[in-house]
């Protein structure tokens, strides 16, 4: 018997069928149905209504703002992720495990609190509020605040993917490159980055999906100014609260397409990442 056959043999066929049916029903009802509902509601009134809803100028400016914010936050966290993973996986130093815990910290913070902390620092009544007002710099209720909140929420994503991968890979290959006379940059480009490229891309995909979709943190710092500080998820909320359900679900369907693409990429990259493991 192969390993696979042995696995199956442990449970009799009726049990297998019953459990599989139950699990698929649960996944379908809890997870797949909401996704189907988004598209069904978006196209409820037909293609023409859908196109009108998503070509609204406020929706268009929300798309641009979401792309801008994601375009800043993701590279920032990408560079951080690389530096953090290099530090904690290739060296032994005191406080290493404390640093690991601190990197995960944003996962434990409610998105709403993530927005609140920047209001307390940069808001009108915050630490830097008076100074910023004197110099006519707006951070809260403006784009920089949205970028900061998004960066906080997506902070650990790249680091989280790279750390376990680079830890299993160890330091042998890098040491060999250096002993053979490679410069640090050559080592980075020829050894380290090629070794982690799929894992890195995977982290970036997760980070991007989350950055585009972040709602709670952004909603606290954005001020909801239409055409100026409204991201795509906030646009969904505004349309929904105005009882424009077709519009809200049309915009939501755009975000859903992004997340489905992210899932497909994830599935493909997972296979590649596994090949990177020694």
């Amino acid at each position: 018997m192969t390993r696979e056959e042995k696995r199956m043999a442990a449970d009799p066929r009726p049990v297998r069928l019953l459990l599989t049916a139950l699990a698929l029903a649960a996944l379908g009802l809890l997870v797949a149905l909401p996704l189907v509902a988004v598209f069904a509601q978006a196209f409820d009134k037909g293609w023409a209504a859908y196109l009108t809803a998503i070509s609204d100028p406020f929706t268009r400016s929300a798309i641009l703002l979401s792309l801008l914010v994601t375009g800043i936050s993701v590279p920032l966290n990408l560079i951080f992720g690389l530096a953090a993973a290099w530090t904690v996986t290739k060296f032994q130093f005191r406080g290493r495990s404390a640093l690991l815990t601190l990197i995960d910290l944003p996962f434990g913070v409610s998105p709403v609190v993530a927005g609140l902390i920047y209001v307390l620092v940069f808001g009108a009544q915050g630490w830097l509020g008076p100074w910023l007002a004197d110099h006519d710099i707006r951070i809260i209720f403006a784009v920089p605040g949205i970028v900061l909140a998004t960066t906080f929420v997506t902070f650990p994503f790249v680091a989280r993917e790279l750390i376990p991968l680079m830890e299993t890979q160890g330091i042998d290959e890098e040491e060999a490159a250096l002993v053979l006379g490679a410069s640090p940059l050559q080592m980075l480009w020829r050894v380290t980055l090629p070794n982690i490229k799929w894992g890195l891309l995977y982290g970036v995909v997760l980070c991007t999906a989350r950055a585009l979709g972040e709602f709670g943190a952004v909603s606290v710092v954005s001020g909801h100014i239409r055409g100026e500080t409204n991201t795509l998820p906030l646009q969904v909320e505004i349309l929904y609260n105005e009882y424009n359900y077709a519009g809200a679900f049309a915009v939501a369907s755009l975000l859903s397409v992004v997340s489905v693409v992210a899932l497909v990429l994830k599935k493909l990259l997972e296979r590649k990442t596994r090949q990177e493991l020694p």
């Binding site: 649960a26 996944l27 909401p34 601190l102 409610s110 609140l116 902070f155 002993v179 606290v220 994830k266």
Partner: protein, 279 residues
Amino acid sequence: MLAAFKKQSILPGFWPSFSYTTLYLTLIVLIPLSAVFLKSFSLSWEQFRRVIMAPPVVAAYQLSFGASLVAGAISAIVGFLVAWVLVRYDFQGKAIADALVDLPFALPTAVAGIALTSLYTEGGWVGRYLAPLGIKVAFTPLGIVVALTFIGLPFVIRSIQPVLEDADQELEEAAASLGASRWQTFYRVILPMTRPALLTGFALAFARGLGEYGSVIFISGNLPMKTQIAPLLIVAKLEQYDYAGATAIAVVMLVISFVLLLGINAVQRRSARFLEKAR
């Protein structure tokens, strides 16, 4: 002193990457987070107590806790079943089912919120079958549980899956050949083996549920004292420019989630050591 801080290594770039990591971490995360704690010190203990003991706030904490616990428990049971089926059985469309598990991670919370609301209102695809039974989901605490289960499920599944995959099936075979029934094997062999992972998944789902905002506020209806969750109260206080009040509620939530996070880390470290010994 420096030599004692870091073990020697021929690899370059420790100091640049270490400094950059700590600087970025300090600027983006640590300083802003400390602002919450410092701001809460501007309240006297009495004022702080009055904010967090106000009846709507207590009701919101109870609701957030209760709903997250129930949703975490449902996620743990359903998640175990789904993980078991995905690891142990083969069926058509398994890859799609496996990919679907991550949807709640990837789908923006606001999108999940309006989608779940449309499903569970009285005229919705699911709500219309529950309404004749007298079960109301949207705009009740039950709706919050549904949203938090959606959010929590992948945490449990992704925690258990690798453990089930690595589990040595010879242990199960040994149990069976020693005369254990399949149920006894499950209860005595499989469950103890997966318990740390199950606990981690549950705690992650619970912690995420406590702070969750986007997927909940649409389906909950936000009725004062009935379906207002704690994060919503923070937003409400902020909208009234009551920064100190918002901060007081936030501090309590932060302390709870940090304690949970430390607990999860401890469980993971212990089970890692356990697995290493077993090898």
